[in-house]
Symmetry: C2
C-alpha cells in the first residue's frame, strides 16, 4: 500500500534501498545453494528419527531472559507501533523456546527428539562478518539420561558433515563433569573454577605456555602445576582416557564424567563415526554454567579461525526455570550461515545463477499455444522450465537472456519446425544444437 | 545461560511457559504436515522456473512505511536492548523487501522470477484465528509487461493447489483497468472511485441488492443504475467478456483491461488451467491503489468464509519509491497458515505423531553394537529410524513408547535372535510379527 501511495506523490524524496546494519540478503545464486544445504541437513535429521517442530520468532521477554532484567542485553525487543510498552522479544536461540514448549506441553512422549531450523536474532553491535540475524539448525533429545543419546547427537553431527561432502572436520568432545573436578584435583577454591575454565578454553588459540602464565595469575603455583599436568594429557583416545582416569582417581564427579566419555567412545565406534573426525579434547569448555555433562564442538580442519560450526552438549536444567524440575536433555546447534560461509571459503560452493534448466523461446505469437504446451510437458516431468516473457522479443535478446541467466538449454520452435514436427534444442554450454521430434523432447532431457 | 543461572537460584518464582498473544507453535504432528506442504509448494514454484531468494526479517522502518510516519500502524518496531531509538521493523510482507532488493541490485537480469517463503509480522491486535506472525509463499515476475507473465502467475497458483490434491477451488480474475473506467462509464466523479470499489468488493459477501443500496448512498441514481448494469454481468467467460466489451466501448482504459483479460483467457487455455478452477469476476477488487492491472484471488469452494488463500496481481509501481522509475511486475502471495487451516477444516490433514518409521528396541546392553548397526543400516537407506533411548529399559515400556509415538514398526533383537541370525519385525498397526534374516532387514522395508 505504502508504495502505491508514493507513486502518486511525485516529487517526494526517494527512499534509500538499504538494509539496517547487521542484516543481509541471500540473492538467487546463494539462496539456491543454501536451500540445498538445508534440504540435506533436514534429511539427515529425519533419517536419525528427529521430527520437525516450529516455534514463533517472538517470545515473552521474561521467557528469554529467565526473568533477569540485566541479562536482556543482546536481545531485540519488539513493539507494535500502536502499543505503549513491550514485553516481547525476538528469540536469540532455539533452545529456550524448546524449553518453554516442553514446559507448556508436559504430555509430549519422552524421549522427545525434535529438530528445528529457523532464524534467531541478537541485538549485538554489527561487525564485519557478524550478523544480527542468523539461521540455526538444532537437534535435541529430551527425556533420556543415557549416553546413547549424547552419542547419537554426535553421530548426527558427523553425518550432517559427511552428507554435505565434508571430510576434513573434527568434533571435539569433553565433559563438564571432568572439569568440575578440577578444584578438588588441583586444590584451588571452587569459586575460581569459572575463571580457570575461561583460561583453559583459550588453549587451542593461544597455546599451552600462555595458558600456563595466565593460570599462574588465577591460582597458586602448586595448583598451576597440577592444572598443567591435566592440560598436557595427549595421545590417542585410549591414552587420553587412561591418563585422565589415573589423574582423577577418587574424584567422584570427574570419574563419572570419564565413564560417560568411555560410553560415548564405545557408541561412536558402533555407530561408525570415524575416529579421524572426532577427538577427546579436554580444553573444550563451551558456555559457562549451561552444560551439565558431555560437550561437543565441531571445527573445519582448514578453517579453525572461523570457529565452531556445530556445537552442543548435555544440559539437564532445560525446563527448570519454568517447572522447577530437572529433565535430562542433550542437543546441538548448527550455525547454518557460518557453515555456508565456511563452505564458500573452502571453494565448495558452485554458484549457479538459476536452477532453471530450460528456456522455451517465445518467438512467434501464432505458436503461443504450442510454447505453452512444450513448457507444460517439461514442467510435468519436474524439469524446471521458463517460457521467455521479456518485452524484447528478438531472437538474439532471448538467447542473450538465457546466457546471462546461465540457463543451460534453450528450446527453439518456429513455423518451419512446426511443419517438420521437430524442436531444436541448444545446449548453451557445449553450443551443440540438436533437432528432435517434438514428441521426444522429454527423452532428450532424461539422459 | 539465563536458564542455567536460574538453576542455581533455588526459591525463585517460576516463569510461565506462555507465548505472547497472537503467536503460536507448530507441534510435531503439524510441523510434519506443514513441512510437506511447503516442499510441494516449493517444488511447484521451481518447476515453473522461479528461483529462491531470501531477505532478512528486519528492514529499515522507512523502507516498510514508504517514508510515511502514519502508515506504520501495523508494523512491529524492533530495538536492541542496548539501543536508544529504533529505526528498524519486522517486514509485514515479502513484496516491499523484493522492491528494496531490486532497487539495490539493478543489475539482476530481467525478467526476474523469484519465489520467497518466509514469515511476516503484523502488530495488529490479536483476535481469534488472526495471528501476528504468519508465513507467506510469494512468486513474482519482474521486468515483463506481457500478459504471458500474468497468465503464468495464475497457472502456478492453479498448479500449487492441484499438486496439493485440491480440486474444489476457484481463482477469481479481474482487472483494475476495467474498474478504473467506471467513473467515465457510470458518470460519477473520479474521486468517488475508491468508495465505489470498496462497495463493489462486498458483492460476493452481502449480495447485489445490498450493494445496490449502498451504491445509492455514494453516487446518484443514474450512476447507480449504470453500475448495477456492470455488476449484473454474468454467464460463462465468453459471455462476460463480450458483455463487458459492449458496455465499456470507447472507454480506453477499460478496453485495455478487457483486452488484457482476453489474452490471459487464451493463455490459461493453452497452459491447461481448467476452466472449472477460474472465472472472470468483476467484483474482485483487492487492495485499493496498489494494483495497476490484472488481479487474482483464490477461494476454496467449500470454505469461502475463511477468505482468499492465494492472491495477487500486476503492480507496475514496484520500485517507484526507491528509484522513481516504473518497472513492470506481477506476482501472488500464498497465505501458508491460512491454507493449512483450510486443509485442516476440510479434513485433508492426516496427522501423524512422528515421521519415524522404525524403532529399534534397546533390550540387551551386550548387543549395543548390533543395535547401532541395525539402526545405521536402516538410516543409510533413508528409512527414518530411532534407537530407543528411554531411561525405562523394560520391553513393555519400549513397546508402549512406540505405540504412543505412533511409530509403525519395531525391530526386536535379543540373544536368541543373535544365535539364529534373525531379527523380529513387528508391524504395530496390523500386529503382525515376522522373523527375517538379519541381513534381509532392508528388503522387508522396501516393499
Amino acid at each position: 500500500m505504502a508504495l502505491a501511495k508514493k507513486a502518486k506523490v511525485k516529487l517526494r524524496k526517494l527512499i534509500k534501498p538499504e538494509l539496517p546494519g547487521g542484516f543481509r540478503d541471500y540473492g538467487t545464486a546463494d539462496a539456491i545453494l543454501k536451500q540445498r544445504l538445508l534440504e540435506k541437513v533436514r534429511k539427515t535429521f529425519e533419517d536419525f528419527g528427529f521430527d520437525p517442530m516450529e516455534t514463533p520468532a517472538v517470545e515473552r521477554t521474561e521467557v528469554l531472559t529467565g526473568g533477569e532484567k540485566e541479562s536482556g542485553k543482546i536481545i531485540f525487543n519488539i513493539k507494535g507501533s500502536r502499543e505503549k510498552g513491550s514485553d516481547s522479544s525476538l528469540r536469540f536461540d532455539l533452545t529456550v523456546p524448546l524449553a518453554r514448549f516442553l514446559a507448556a506441553n508436559p504430555e509430549v512422549p519422552k524421549p522427545f527428539k525434535r529438530y528445528q531450523i529457523g532464524s534467531v536474532w541478537r541485538g549485538e553491535s554489527p561487525q564485519v562478518g557478524r550478523y544480527r540475524e542468523f539461521m540455526q539448525a538444532d537437534v535435541d533429545i529430551v527425556g533420556s539420561s543415557s549416553m546413547d543419546a549424547d552419542s547419537e547427537v554426535i553421530a548426527v553431527m558427523y553425518q550432517v558433515f559427511k552428507n554435505l561432502g565434508l571430510n576434513r572436520f573434527v568434533i571435539n568432545i569433553s565433559n563438564r563433569k571432568v572439569l568440575n573436578g578440577l578444584p578438588e584435583f588441583a586444590k584451588f577454591p571452587e569459586k575460581k573454577l569459572f575463571e580457570v575454565l575461561r583460561t583453559i578454553d583459550k588453549t587451542d588459540k593461544i597455546g599451552q605456555e600462555a595458558v600456563k602464565k595466565e593460570l599462574g595469575k588465577v591460582v597458586g603455583k602448586k595448583a598451576q602445576e597440577k592444572l598443567m599436568e591435566f592440560l598436557s594429557i595427549s595421545g590417542d583416545t585410549k591414552t587420553k582416557i587412561l591418563r585422565a582416569r589415573d589423574l582423577f582417581k577418587g574424584i567422584k564427579v570427574s570419574e563419572e564424567g570419564i565413564n560417560e566419555l568411555i560410553e560415548i567412545v564405545r557408541n561412536l565406534n558402533a555407530f561408525g563415526v570415524e575416529q579421524i573426525n572426532w577427538q577427546i579434547n579436554f580444553y573444550t569448555v563451551r558456555g559457562l554454567g549451561y552444560y551439565t555433562g558431555p560437550i561437543f564442538e565441531t571445527y573445519l580442519n582448514d578453517l579453525p579461525e572461523i570457529g565452531g560450526m556445530f556445537q552442543g552438549g548435555r544440559y539437564d536444567n532445560l525446563v527448570m526455570a519454568f517447572t522447577g524440575q530437572k529433565i535430562p536433555a542433550v542437543g546441538a546447534s548448527l550455525g547454518v550461515d557460518r557453515l555456508f560461509a565456511g563452505l564458500d571459503k573452502l571453494g565448495l560452493l558452485k554458484r549457479k545463477a538459476t536452477s532453471v534448466k530450460v528456456l522455451v523461446l517465445n518467438l512467434t505469437p501464432a505458436l503461443r499455444e504450442e510454447y505453452a504446451n512444450l513448457t507444460k510437458t517439461l514442467r510435468s516431468a519436474n524439469i524446471n522450465t521458463s517460457l521467455y516473457f521479456g518485452d524484447d522479443k528478438a531472437f538474439q535478446a532471448q538467447l542473450a537472456y538465457a546466457v546471462k541467466k546461465e540457463i543451460p538449454f534453450v528450446v527453439i520452435y518456429g513455423e518451419e519446425d512446426k511443419k517438420k514436427g521437430v524442436v531444436t534444442i541448444k545446449n548453451l554450454a557445449t553450443r551443440e544444437q540438436r533437432e528432435v521430434p517434438k514428441g521426444n523432447i522429454l527423452q532428450y532431457f532424461k539422459k
